[in-house]
Symmetry: C2
Subunit: 156 residues, 2 copies
DNA sequence: ACCACTGAGTTCCCTGAGGGAACTCAGCTG
DNA sequence: CAGCTGAGTTCCCTCAGGGAACTCAGTGGT
């Protein structure tokens, strides 16, 4: 956890960052998303320190991004699964992956491909407007104060 | 910078994380995106330490996410602007913001609203498939090895 | 009954990154 | 020429991340 707490800032990016912004968190999410669900498997797959992995998992469960799910009593064993919140966070991972594929993949090409299950094509995500369904990207957006914005001084 | 380097992993999420995964980076990007461009303004707006701010800006310029742009010689003054790469990273911020709005905004509602310039509506982004244009989210995707994936052992 | 093994964490110590405040430095401004 | 401003540096301190070893419950093998 970094020194400054982002969770209290009046900014949804900062708050989201507070949840998954720590080192390793998105990679843990990615692994669980693709089916690596157990502590030791995660540790081996990521090469993360066990200490940090334990910390992150507890945090992500606290944040209701993951659920700790027993798959065996006697002995007690469990695996981590994504909650609906967690699955939606993976949407953001798809966008990050797309950016990395576009700008950082070397001559080898992208390390992973994404197949859209409903149309069967290997493709990638694009951003659209929830209202008009047309493409909508950062260059096409104005940011306005919302109801949860901090009160600001009058500028008469 | 965290101890482990994510940039060398064969994973576009990890590589992207290597670029903007450090604490403060996405918030710096957000600020520049909404028009805060100068060192002192950024420092004041974020409450970040000047040391860390200087480090992050240099790093983001190195990564070609930002451009250091002089707006005055004599005295030399400059401001930071987004490169095309940087603007596309802001797409990811829109998705993070959407998640935060949906799951973390309190009773006050979202701190910011996003207006789609071309249709004028206050809306948010949704993910679509680049191939069929239909909605495409993490729950609707299969992840496959790509050309840049590490060679894996035969499993005969 | 005894031993090794496995999954899932803890504990301990060391190093290095983040925070804060003060300092620098060039070029205006009054 | 004293002070101000933008844009960083420098210094020091603390605490989080890394690594490896340790724990602990339950199980399977002999």
């Amino acid at each position: 956890m970094q020194r400054t707490r982002f969770g209290d800032m009046p900014c949804s990016i900062a708050r989201t960052w507070n949840v998954i912004g720590e080192p390793w968190s998105p990679l843990i999410l990615r692994d669980i998303y693709v089916g690596v669900r157990r502590f030791d498997d995660l540790q081996a797959s990521l090469g993360i320190s066990r200490k940090v992995l334990a910390e992150r998992l507890t945090w992500l469960v606290d944040q209701q991004v993951l659920d700790r799910h027993p798959y065996s009593d006697r002995p007690t064993r469990h695996e981590y699964v994504l909650t609906p919140r967690g699955v939606e966070l993976c949407d953001a991972l798809l966008v990050l992956a797309r950016w990395g594929d576009r700008w950082l993949a070397g001559a080898d090409g992208p390390p992973a491909l994404f197949r859209h299950r409903s149309c069967g094509a290997t493709s990638h995500v694009t951003l659209h407007c929830s209202h008009c369904d047309q493409p909508m990207t950062a260059s096409d957006v104005d940011v306005l104060d919302g109801p949860g914005a901090p009160a600001r001084e009058e500028t008469p």
